[in-house]
């Protein structure tokens, strides 16, 4: 029933390793990004004063500004982290699997 090629991939221990390692990274980074975002939104909804403190004594910019900007910048940097791993070592692993399967 199952395609023999896919069957062979499933029996390759490297496939399990790829799925485990890449899946773990994706899940971890998703939790970090969504966690930071929803934590920020909860502070906005329930404790907005925490974000209203001025950044410098008597200044107009609040601490909320750099924190908000950091959410955008850090989550972008994390897409770089994921791409780096997924396109580097994991892609190598993936290529090994494909080669071993199709040969």
């Amino acid at each position: 029933m199952s395609d023999p090629i896919y069957e062979r991939v499933r029996n390759n221990p490297k496939f399990a390793e790829l799925v485990r390692r890449r899946g773990r990274l994706a899940a971890l980074l998703s939790v970090v990004v969504l966690g930071a975002y929803y934590a920020f939104m909860m502070v906005v909804a329930f404790a907005p004063d925490l974000l209203s403190k001025p950044l410098t004594e008597g200044g107009a910019l609040t601490v909320g500004a750099p924190i908000g900007a950091a959410i955008i910048v850090v989550s972008w940097l994390l897409t770089g982290v994921y791409s780096r791993f997924a396109n580097g070592p994991f892609e190598q692993l993936n290529n090994d699997i494909v080669r071993e399967t199709l040969q």
């Binding site: 029933m1 199952s2 395609d3 090629i5 896919y6 991939v9 499933r10 496939f15 790829l18 799925v19 890449r22 994706a26 899940a27 980074l29 998703s30 990004v33 969504l34 975002y37 920020f40 939104m41 909860m42 906005v44 909804a45 329930f46 907005p48 974000l51 209203s52 950044l55 410098t56 200044g59 107009a60 910019l61 609040t62 909320g64 500004a65 908000g68 900007a69 959410i71 955008i72 910048v73 989550s75 972008w76 994390l78 897409t79 770089g80 994921y82 791409s83 997924a86 396109n87 892609e91 993936n94 699997i97 494909v98 399967t101 199709l102």
Partner: protein, 556 residues
Amino acid sequence: MIRAILSVSALALLSAAPALAAGGDLGAVEKQPINLSAIGMFLAFVLLTLGITYWAANRTKSASDFYTAGGGITGFQNGLAIAGDYMSAATLLGLSSLVFAKGFDGFIYTISFFVGWPIILFLMAERLRNLGRFTFADIASYRLDQSKIRTFAALGSLAVVCFYLIVQMVGAGQLIKLLFGLDYAVAVILVGVLMVVYVTFGGMIATTWVQIIKACLMLGGGAVLTLLALNHFGFSLEAMAQSAVDSHKDGIKAMAPGTMLADPVSAVSMSLGLVFGTAALPHIMMRFFTVPNAREARKSVFVASGIIGFFFLLVCVLGMAAITIVGTDPQFFEGGKVGGKLIGGGNMPIMHLSKALGGDLFLGFLSAVAFATILAVVSGLALAGASAISHDIYARVIKKGQCTEKEELRVSKIASLFLGALGVLLGIAFEKQNVAFLVGLTFGIAASANFPILILSMYWKGLTTKGALWGGLAGLISAVTMVVLSKAVWVVVLENPAPIFPYEHPALFSMSLAFLVTIVVSKLDKSAQAKAEIAAFDDQFVRSQTGIGAAAASSH
């Protein structure tokens, strides 16, 4: 009066996301005197893109060239094009005007519009690329019933495309009337004709390059304007903020979270609809099929989210600069009354800012960019709609795969012509209507009817045809019902005194319902077909992870 305008524009924006929050917040705009520098720069853009379309037409031979540029777009190019698709007129006009009006709250919305992108990369990008070929229905129906699920997914895509197209068309007409001094109908017909030309002749190759050029123009224009704005305040954000505090009617409160998000249920529902609705917009998903492999797909999201994030931060700075520069200058208010109604409506602060800092020439440039933006977005939509009709409904469902590529291509060209005509007609019909509710519908349907099927088909082995169909229908019906009963339709359009559904966004409820129904019905489905579909997951899983068996690229 000003509060009414602000709340309408905020209301439209809540639901706007990457749409131009059209009609509703532009309102009935005054036709402006003809703006020659804007028209000149726009003509230059049109000539350039028509040249590209001619070039692309010679390279569009097969169905795969037409739908996905033969998979020959690089990750970097595709990243620019995705950013071009996502940074619509709403980001430029809508988000900056939200910061202008609401200060820090506008910034919070901007962040909400961004966070979907990392999630799309982590959870969806490689699977989309490895499983899909031309359309989102390819993935949804991968191991499920071809005719039922493909039809449902294609109709879901078409509904999203049509509603979104009306929103864009109405917005285009209003905006062009305002910025260029052209007639509403002329503007809508112009957009419709150009869109059909790009798509019919140049397919995905032309559409991609229109988006790339537009993204670069928008990024360049935004960056120059930001430099001018920073220069105005001696390159000090603190000085800009201080001045904004002195000028804004809310004073120091404008720099802190305000009342806009006081209701967490609304906030969560909005962000769910936005994040997952975006992930299931057919024209955005289609972009993942234009790159040769998962590696380039990841790279394109990295590039796209970098550009989008950077641009969003620029837009917030621009909104803050406008608080002082536009908000205290009588020439930008109707009747010269500072604090009254902005000339052209609540979406115009950034346009006025460009005039204040860069003169008429820069205003003309930014107007041309706004026009180009609308063109790029409607072209992507038309292509996604045409492929749902020709690839899914015609070639796969009606002809059961028994038709030549040539026939399929012909149908897709007729379909894009049809969509263009439909867009123009509906755009004209809806001129005087408040179309903000259509944005709510678009994202509600995308997040509640399309997204659950898509994500479960990739992640959950137990999904069956019956479950997907019932769950998708539950999401569709509940999302539409809740939008109709919400303020945007029930009060604003149907003129009832109070909304029955208290929130602006249905996603929290309709999306949860869709997931629940899909899972329960799938679990109860004990048919032989269900068993076969569940068994087919293992092979699909290998392909989604490794890309073995996925369509390879052709080079251009």
